[in-house]
Symmetry: D2
Subunit: 155 residues, 4 copies
């Protein structure tokens, strides 16, 4: 999956807006996830290994892989939304292809079709072990643009 | 969704086996999730509200809802598996129906079809607020029985 | 899956509107599908066996099962839509549980959550053989209400 | 989506086997679908427009788009299976991105991960209008290898 997309962000602030929204998710900090790349229609997030994030066989829990996939797709879509809109996950479907066995999870989400109301994204999740990336999950998701509701944390 | 299922567990130890597997998932303890009910083909898990589990609007993060759904379906399926088998999530699809706005997430997974290799589950996730349960997500998932690989933590 | 739903149709013409839309789908006539029951938030469609609808093992083709599931969910949702709206399938996910081996396919779709823009449906598809219904597929789908675009055939 | 895949077919007869299986599906002939390309881990199928295949707005019915997607993914997977195996669709999830408005539907399925028992495929479906291809649907599916059951029509 390459970084290049055919999309143009609708405003110059898209990187700042995605970064702010990500930083406003307490869960990302709690898990230790990092927003690494944000481009128009593309988002990459990393989640380093911690014992606390594993399942009964010592691998990354499927829920963590799904959580990162959800955020990659959501923020890839959000990068293309107008400044007065917020983002809502409608649904996602994820196939777990290999155990999450490694030091780092790398999620890469890409917009496949950006509509006025709905955006469809494809997300691949890789696990890095001894310097080698292996595809461990692939997801397809639908995201909704909530026009007129700027994305702010409840205060 | 009622607790009653048409399934019979294949061994008397199914409750102990599910409980042990759940307790062997460090993530469940880290998030604060509790295994509440396990019956043949059914599993209910609770996740109390914590600020650390929220997204930018102060609600439970979709990834947490997906994580609980995944485990409810997985353990509902695991309850029907033979003693020498472990459980693997093949894929799931989740629709987020309402914001995760409340004090507690309640996931209820039920086996819809138990096959020799693959089991299909339906999972509903509710959010409890002021004593009222509201459906916040619904999922459909496919789980694989790994025969001959007892479910033990990597040691 | 019972016929009873908690929904009320928003207009008295919902049965007529669904029937007209169904009759305006040339594919339904071509395949031989019949609209059997329409209630608020519920739709049942039948598809009798024909050699032309089968796959390489002589069973109903998965595409036929998916087609019936799509229409059951779509029309269950459409029954709850205002008179000036049309219905659009956003996405669906279907698990094939048993071969479509029998004389008749029976699809039953039910609205799980009806929102202003999006509606989520659950659909079960059964195959009837020697008078016995067997669950052969289960689907979860997202449908969109297209407000202000009455559902008419292109003319 | 390019034709190139990283896969090698396990036997020299894979093209013949896919072609025979496709020809043994009476539904494909009934709809008028054509198997156009089969390579290791890749399959392209075409379905020309006919009035009988449309929905109430005059476009290809979503069920037809799903049917072609299902077969593209299934045969992409089947091309990698051993000679004594048959193919079974476990589940698929499809997003409909644009109306099926055109003269021809073109489905292209590609294997994303081929496992011993389960194979995961990505399928894109395009609609051709006035010589221009437009992406109208994207699907993700899980296919099962049925070892020891050669794919033959029931006779």
């Amino acid at each position: 999956m390459s970084l290049q997309t055919d999309f143009k962000a609708p405003n110059n602030e898209f990187k700042t807006r995605v970064k702010e929204s990500f930083d406003n998710q307490p869960l990302m900090d709690f898990l230790g996830a990092k927003l690494k790349i944000i481009e128009p229609g593309f988002c990459e997030i990393h989640l380093p290994y911690r014992f606390e994030l594993t399942q009964q066989h010592g691998f990354f829990h499927a829920g963590m892989i799904g959580t990162i996939a959800d955020n990659c797709g959501g923020y890839a879509a959000f990068s293309l939304m107008p400044a007065d809109a917020s983002v809502l996950t409608v649904e996602y479907k994820i196939n777990l292809l290999s155990p999450g066995d490694g030091e780092l999870i790398i999620g890469r989400g890409k917009v496949k079709k950006a509509g006025k109301t709905l955006t469809v994204c494809a997300v691949d999740v890789f696990v890095l072990k001894n310097g080698i990336e292996k595809l461990c999950a692939t997801a397809q998701m639908t995201v909704m643009t909530m026009h007129g509701r700027a994305d702010k944390q409840k205060s």
